[in-house]
Amino acid sequence: MGNLILTRSPRAAHPYYVPELGIHLYTAEELSYYIYNNVMLLNRGFIDERLMTFIRECGAGELAAKLDRWKDEADFWELLLVILQDIHLYTGPELEKFRSETARIATEGHEKIMHEKASYMLSIGRYYDAIRMYEKLLNSRSDYTSSKKVLAGLYEGLGVAHARLFVYDEALAAYKAAYAQSRNEKYLRSIYMIHLISPETEYPAELFAELEPGRLPAWAAEYEAAKEQAVLYGKARAAAELTDRDERRRRAGYLDLISEWKTEYRRCMG
């Protein structure tokens, strides 16, 4: 059964900035949501004086005092749980789920967790952080990275991150490496798409020779369809919507949009 959650905590006078996401948190509930959903971004350094000040400003002085007392002794994940319990945004079963997840992180092998973190960074647009993590894992030569399937996944992530940064040569090289590990056709598709986006990149004809006839024309059609759809979504659409406004509002809209993109770009840069 659903519920309403009554919130009485004040908005902090000085919001808490989360550089990883490029956002500010204003209330205790937002902090709780951030912790619950971004556990991969958090490490022991998270519970610092800046966080304590924010928690105090949210009217949770007792919680800040508790964390202050326990921060040197208690387990980091336990401290996060204390924060979530105190704010009461999440129910008992939800907190139990969080506890299991943090327990898994605490016991799971370092490389596997780093792989998950890299994928998470990729999902939130922190491409450089993701690339650094993928490269570190690829150079580590541990048991975890000896599996071909894992290696293909790491190269794939690396390829996606480079492609999103428009570094197509590097992206293509990463996809080739992924294909070499798993021989999965989806990597060939990605390579072909990169070539269509950036025709000056290498065209590995020898790889495509292995494909069934008709595959490449089908992918080319998919690419054309996606290109047509692109103007209807995301940034292109946001910019297109401004063209109907009058001169003054259009100009202000463009400036806002550029500022938003700049922030996003800086965030991606890490």
């Binding site: 309403l4 959650i5 009554l6 937002e30």
Partner: protein
């Protein structure tokens, strides 16, 4: 200590009373002049070629001799958004009421030689948002801080007046006949015992038997009026256990003409003639607002007060609790409230409405499907409840987003509910 005032503003005449804390009682403030009178005709007159505004009998006198322009029916003028043009200048109803109100308050200030007002309750026959707002602004204009001004209706001030009297008076039901130029009004108060706090229910009714007070200017008219009122008293009092009957209004300034009516109402009941019950009640209410602990520990249910408690269930501090949005017995003009909630997997908000008198709950459902679609627990809403009468509640739900993660759209869901 500043003044504690009750001001009764009506279309025919207005009255003002002061609460005296030392005596724990009220005093009536009269209009100075040859005939000291507590009834101040609700008229204002601008003296010809002078920026001088007069009220009451003096206003009539100056206008009668052609030395000024008079405007009457000030409340009606406000309700119909009227204006008056005096010496080529157009005045709106608010400007005229502000001048009139200022002069009325000035009477109390002169009497007690005190400028500051600590608490003021203005009473009107019927609560109308436009009238209430104008009266509040008029009070603020004459130097009363906004937070110290309240507007109550006659039924409510009648309740205060009666409950301030000895408990023998309200041992059973109490009736009030208010006979004035605008009609005959009947109020009935009963205390519903066995509840904590005691519920005091007051109803008001405009009786069809009302007549013009001009009728009382001839002996035959007086006789006719007496027989009309007698029949009326028989009708409204029959079969009821009434411990006291109060008579108020200009029509009852003398009861010499109402012999038959008096013998009917006096039958096994105590009867009181009161000069300014509503202004006095308002002054008692103003005095009570100054106290830390109320001297009226009752739940007033009357015109102007909410008859039901409106609440909803929400989780606070991990526990599911009832959150009261508006409490029965609260003056509807002051009963609005707001709270912020986060929606946790909820499609509709269910409000519970519990009448103070019957205690039988009913439900109101407010669908949330117009709010933006977001992940669970990332929609914060501001829930605002306001009232435009004691029976009509407006709920507004405003999307406040969830910080930078899910910016607010300020989308509003609005629903009007009869309670």
């Amino acid at each position: 200590m500043g003044l504690i005032l009750g001001v009764d503003i009506c279309d025919d005449y207005s009255q003002i009373s002061a609460f005296i804390p030392e005596k724990n009682d009220v005093e009536q403030v009269a209009l100075p002049g040859e005939k000291m009178t507590e009834r101040i005709p609700s008229v204002i007159c601008k003296k010809k070629d002078a920026d001088e505004w007069l009220i009451g009998e003096e206003a009539y006198r100056v206008a009668l001799f052609g030395n000024g322009t008079l405007v009457d029916r000030l409340v009606k003028l406000i309700l119909k958004k009227g204006t008056a043009t005096i010496e080529g200048v157009k005045y709106n109803s608010e400007q005229l009421m502000t001048k009139f109100f200022g002069r009325v308050v000035e009477l109390a200030r002169s009497k007690y030689d005190e400028k500051s007002v600590e608490s003021m309750v203005i009473t009107v026959q019927e609560m109308e948002p436009r009238l209430n707002d104008i009266l509040i602004r008029a009070a603020v204009h004459c130097g009363v801080p906004r937070e110290k001004v309240h507007v109550y209706c006659h039924a409510e001030c009648c309740s205060y007046y009666i409950m301030a009297q000895n408990s023998e008076i309200w041992a059973n039901q109490v009736s009030l006949f208010d006979l004035r130029g605008t009609g005959l009004y009947y109020y009935e108060l009963k205390v519903i015992r066995g509840r904590k706090p005691l519920v005091v229910q007051t109803t008001r009714e405009k009786l069809e038997e009302g007549f013009s007070l001009d009728v009382l200017e001839s002996p035959s008219g007086e006789k006719l009026a007496d027989s009309i009122l007698t029949a009326c008293a028989d009708r409204v009092l029959s079969g009821k256990l009434i411990s006291a009957v109060l008579l108020s209004g200009k029509g009852f300034s003398t009861t010499d003409w109402a012999g038959s009516f008096l013998s009917t109402v006096c039958n096994r009941r105590r009867v009181f003639q009161t000069n300014q019950i509503f202004a006095d009640g308002a002054a008692f209410a103003a005095g009570d607002l100054m106290r830390e602990n109320t001297a009226f520990p009752y739940l007033f249910v009357c015109e102007g007060r909410l008859a039901s408690t409106v609440s909803l269930f929400a989780v606070y501090g991990g526990r599911r609790e009832s959150v009261v949005l508006s409490q029965a017995g609260t003056n509807w003009s002051e009963a609005g409230s707001s709270a912020e909630f986060i929606i946790d997997d909820l499609k509709n908000i269910e409000l519970s409405v519990v009448p103070a008198v019957t205690g039988r709950a009913s439900k109101i459902l407010i669908p949330l499907d117009e709010l933006p679609k977001r992940p669970n627990k990332t929609t914060r809403i501001e829930f605002i409840v306001s009232f435009s009468s004691e029976h009509l509640m407006t709920v507004r739900i405003i999307d406040r987003g969830f910080g930078d993660m899910f910016p607010a759209t300020d989308k509003v869901i609005r629903q009007e509910c009869s309670i």
